[in-house]
C-alpha cells in the first residue's frame, strides 16, 4: 500500500510526530522569548534607572553649589576603587578636569541642559596585564556654564549576561525541538502501533481465522474500548459462523440418511411391479417420511437461529401466566395418559424474554415428560423464584435416565436407545438448552430426589 523512500511521510506516526513537535516548538519559542525579555530587558531598564539617578544627583550638586561643588562630588566618587560608574567633567575653560576616562569619547551636545544617551568603548589596562575594551553607556550634558558632564555605566557585565542567556536559549531551543520530535514520534508510534495491532487482527480475521482477538492493554483507554468492541463483535461473528457451520453439518449429516433411505425405498419400489394399491401405499409412506425430514430440518434451523441469537426479541414477560397456560394445556394430556399431574406456580414471576421460545422450551420439557412417563406415575411441574432466578422444573417418577447419560441428552440428535421408538427429532432438549442460553440462564438435568425419575430445570434470571 505504502512504498518508496518517502513512504514514511504518509504514516500517521510521522504526521502526528511532526505536528506534535511543531506545536511544542512554537510554545517553547514563545516561552523562551518571554524569558529573554523578562531577564535581559529588566537588566537594561534597571541599569538605565541607576545611571539616571546618579546623573541627577550630580546635576543637583551642580545647580546647588556650582562647578566647585560638582568637582568635589566627582573627586570623592573617582577615589572609590570599585565603582559602577565612570565620569568625566570638563569645565568651560578646559582647565578643571575631573575624569577617569582619558578623553571625551564623543562630541558634547551644543545645546544646554539636554542630556543625551551615548554608547562608546574605552580601552583600559586589564587586571592581569594587557588591556580590555569596556563598553559604556553614558549620559552627557552641556551645563549652563558651558562645562560638560559625562556619567557612564559599564555595560560589559550586562552584555556578558545577555550573551549567556542568549547562548542558553539558542542551545535549549533546538534540543527542545529535538526532544519534542522524539517524544512526538514515540507517542504517535504508540498510538499507531495500537491501531496497527487492531488492523493486524482485522486482517487475520479477513484471511479466515475468526478465533483471533485484538490485544487489550488493560488501561481502559479508547484503544482498549475499541479492541473490546472489536473482540465482542468477533465473538458474535464466530458464534454465528459456528452455528451456521454446525447447522450445515447437521443438515448434511442428519438429513442425508433419511433422504438416502427414502430414495432407496422409492427405487426398490420402482424395480418391483407397480399396481395402484402398492403405489398409493408407497406415496403415502413417502409423504410421511418427507414430512419427518422437513420437521427435522425446521428444528435444526430454529435451533441454529436460537443459538446464533438471531431469533428472539426479549420483552417483559409474565412467566407465571405462561406456565399456568402450559399447565392447563398439558394437564388433560397427562390425565388421559393415566399420569397424575400436579403443578405449583408462584405468582408474579417476571423476566425479560421471548414468549414463543420460552413456551416452546417449557412445552418440550412437558412433552418429554408425558412421552417417557408410564401410566400410573406422576409428573410435577413448578415455577418458583430462588435467589433472583426463576426455576421452571418438570420432574417425573418415570424410569429416568442413567447417570452417565444425563449431560449427553442435551446434545443435538442424542436419542437414548429407549427413545428410538418414540416420535421426535432428538432436538427438543437441545432447543431448551439453547433457549436457556439465549436468556442468559441454564438448563439442568438431574435425577429427581423426590420423584426418583428425571428432573429437568430451566433456570432463568428474573427481572430486577
Amino acid at each position: 500500500m505504502i512504498s518508496g523512500p518517502f513512504a514514511f511521510v504518509r504514516t500517521t506516526t510521522f504526521r502526528l510526530a511532526l505536528v506534535y513537535s511543531i506545536i511544542f516548538a512554537l510554545f517553547s519559542a514563545g516561552l523562551l522569548a518571554y524569558l529573554f525579555q523578562a531577564t535581559v530587558g529588566e537588566m537594561r531598564a534597571e541599569a538605565k534607572s541607576r545611571l539616571e539617578s546618579e546623573f541627577r544627583t550630580l546635576a543637583v550638586a551642580w545647580s546647588a553649589g556650582g562647578p566647585s561643588r560638582l568637582e568635589q562630588s566627582l573627586l570623592e566618587r573617582v577615589l572609590v576603587d570599585l565603582r559602577e560608574f565612570t565620569y568625566r567633567f570638563e569645565s568651560a575653560s578646559g582647565d578643571g578636569i575631573v575624569a577617569d576616562i582619558p578623553r571625551m569619547p564623543v562630541e558634547p551636545p551644543e545645546e544646554y541642559g539636554q542630556p543625551r544617551v551615548v554608547i562608546f568603548e574605552i580601552e583600559r589596562p586589564g587586571p592581569v596585564g594587557g588591556s580590555e575594551i569596556i563598553p559604556i553607556e553614558a549620559l552627557i550634558v552641556r551645563l549652563g556654564d558651558d562645562s560638560v558632564l559625562l556619567v557612564g555605566v559599564r555595560m560589559d557585565e550586562r552584555i556578558r549576561q545577555v550573551n549567556r542567556i542568549t547562548r542558553v536559549v539558542a542551545t535549549a531551543a533546538p534540543i527542545g525541538f529535538l526532544l519534542a520530535l522524539v517524544g512526538g514520534f514515540f507517542s504517535a508510534r504508540y498510538a499507531a502501533s495500537r491501531a496497527e495491532s487492531l488492523t493486524k487482527t482485522a486482517e487475520g480475521v479477513m484471511s479466515g481465522d475468526l478465533s483471533l482477538r485484538a490485544p487489550v492493554g488493560g488501561s481502559g483507554d479508547e484503544f482498549d474500548r475499541l479492541a473490546e468492541q472489536l473482540n465482542a463483535m468477533l465473538e458474535r461473528l464466530e458464534k454465528l459462523m459456528a452455528s451456521t457451520r454446525h447447522a450445515g453439518d447437521s443438515i448434511a449429516h442428519d438429513l442425508r440418511s433419511p433422504l438416502s433411505r427414502l430414495r432407496n425405498q422409492l427405487e426398490a419400489r420402482l424395480r418391483g411391479p407397480i399396481d395402484e394399491v402398492s403405489a398409493r401405499e408407497t406415496l403415502g409412506e413417502t409423504v410421511e417420511e418427507v414430512d419427518r425430514v422437513l420437521a427435522t430440518f425446521n428444528a435444526i434451523l430454529s435451533l441454529s437461529r436460537v443459538h446464533a441469537g438471531a431469533e428472539g426479541k426479549l420483552v417483559d414477560l409474565d412467566v407465571s401466566e405462561l406456565c399456568e397456560e402450559m399447565a392447563e394445556l398439558f394437564e388433560p394430556a397427562c390425565e388421559d395418559a393415566g399420569i397424575a399431574f400436579t403443578f405449583n406456580i408462584a405468582s408474579g414471576l417476571e423476566l425479560s424474554g421471548d414468549r414463543a421460545l420460552l413456551a416452546q422450551a417449557v412445552a418440550n420439557l412437558l412433552d418429554n415428560a408425558v412421552k417417557y412417563t408410564p401410566s400410573g406415575e406422576t409428573i410435577g411441574f413448578s415455577a418458583i423464584l430462588k435467589d433472583q432466578e426463576i426455576e421452571v422444573t418438570v420432574e417425573d417418577s418415570g424410569p429416568g435416565i442413567p447417570e452417565q447419560d444425563l449431560e449427553r441428552v442435551k446434545d443435538r440428535f442424542v436419542r437414548l436407545d429407549d427413545a428410538r421408538t418414540q416420535p421426535g427429532s432428538g432436538l427438543g432438549l437441545a432447543l431448551v438448552d439453547a433457549v436457556a442460553e439465549l436468556h442468559k440462564g441454564r438448563f439442568d438435568i438431574s435425577r429427581s430426589q423426590s420423584k426418583s425419575g428425571l428432573k429437568a430445570t430451566l433456570i432463568l434470571p428474573a427481572k430486577r
Binding site: 426479541k313 414463543a356 413456551a359 412421552k371
Partner: protein, 224 residues
C-alpha cells in the same frame, strides 16, 4: 370461495390451485407482485394467498399497498420464513394469517376457509352463535344444547367459540393452538386432541347426533 393466489413458483402455484380447487374453491393465479396487486384491486375476491418473496413487489409491500388503497379482502401470507418475528411483521403489514412453507394441504384449505368466513361474519355484531341445537350466548357466557345447559371451563368456552365461528370448516390443531391458546409451536404430544375430546364429552356425549367431527389427517370440524 373465489381465491387469488399470488405466487411466482409455478409448481407451487399449481399445487395450491389444485388443493383449493379440490376443496371446491375457484382459484386464479398471478406470478408477480405488481400484477397481483392490480388484479386484487380489479376483482372481488373472497381471499388472497400471497407469497412473501415475489419478483417486482415483495408480498409485504403488496399487502401494505393493497390495504392503504382501501382493499379489505382478507389475505394469507405464505412464507418459507417461519419465525415469530416474520409472522408478526406479516400480520402488521395487514395480512390476516400466516402460513409457513412447507404446509399440509388441509392446513392451507382450513386457513383460507377461515379467512373467507371472517369477513362475512364481521359485518353484524354477533351475540349468539348457533350450530344445530347447540347455542352459545357470548354475552351471558352460557352454552346450551337443546334443553340441557352445558358447563364449560373458560378455555373450553374459547375453544368451542372458535369452532362455532368456523362451523362447517375444518380447523387444524396448529390453528387451534394459535387462535385459542395464542402459542405458535408444534406440540409433539396430543395435547390439543385431549382438549377436544374433553369438549366433545361435554357437548356430544349425551346426544345421538355428534356435532364435533374428527377430520382424518387434518383436524376437526363442528357441523350441524
Amino acid at each position: 370461495m373465489h381465491v387469488l393466489v399470488i405466487e411466482d413458483d409455478r409448481e407451487h402455484a399449481e399445487f395450491i390451485e389444485k388443493v383449493l380447487s379440490e376443496a371446491g374453491h375457484s382459484v386464479e393465479t398471478v406470478d408477480d407482485g405488481a400484477g397481483g396487486l392490480s388484479r386484487a384491486r380489479q376483482d372481488q375476491y373472497d381471499a388472497l394467498v400471497v407469497d412473501r418473496m415475489l419478483p417486482e413487489k415483495p408480498g409485504i409491500q403488496l399487502v401494505e399497498e393493497f390495504r392503504n388503497g382501501g382493499g379489505t379482502t382478507p389475505a394469507l401470507f405464505l412464507s418459507a420464513l417461519s419465525d415469530v418475528d416474520n409472522r408478526v411483521e406479516g400480520l402488521k403489514a395487514g395480512a390476516d394469517d400466516y402460513l409457513a412453507k412447507p404446509f399440509a394441504p388441509e392446513e392451507l384449505v382450513a386457513r383460507v376457509e377461515a379467512l373467507g368466513r371472517r369477513q362475512s361474519s364481521s359485518e353484524p355484531p354477533v351475540t349468539v352463535l348457533r350450530v344445530g341445537d347447540l347455542e352459545m350466548d357470548l354475552l351471558g357466557r352460557k352454552v346450551t344444547r337443546g334443553e340441557a345447559k352445558i358447563d364449560l371451563q373458560p378455555r373450553e368456552f374459547k375453544l368451542l367459540e372458535y369452532l362455532m365461528r368456523h362451523a362447517g370448516q375444518t380447523v387444524t390443531r396448529t390453528m387451534l393452538l394459535e387462535k385459542v391458546w395464542n402459542y405458535h409451536f408444534d406440540p409433539q404430544t396430543n395435547v390439543i386432541d385431549v382438549h377436544i375430546s374433553r369438549l366433545r364429552a361435554k357437548i356430544d356425549k349425551e346426544f345421538d347426533h355428534q356435532l364435533l367431527q374428527t377430520v382424518r389427517g387434518a383436524g376437526y370440524c363442528l357441523q350441524a
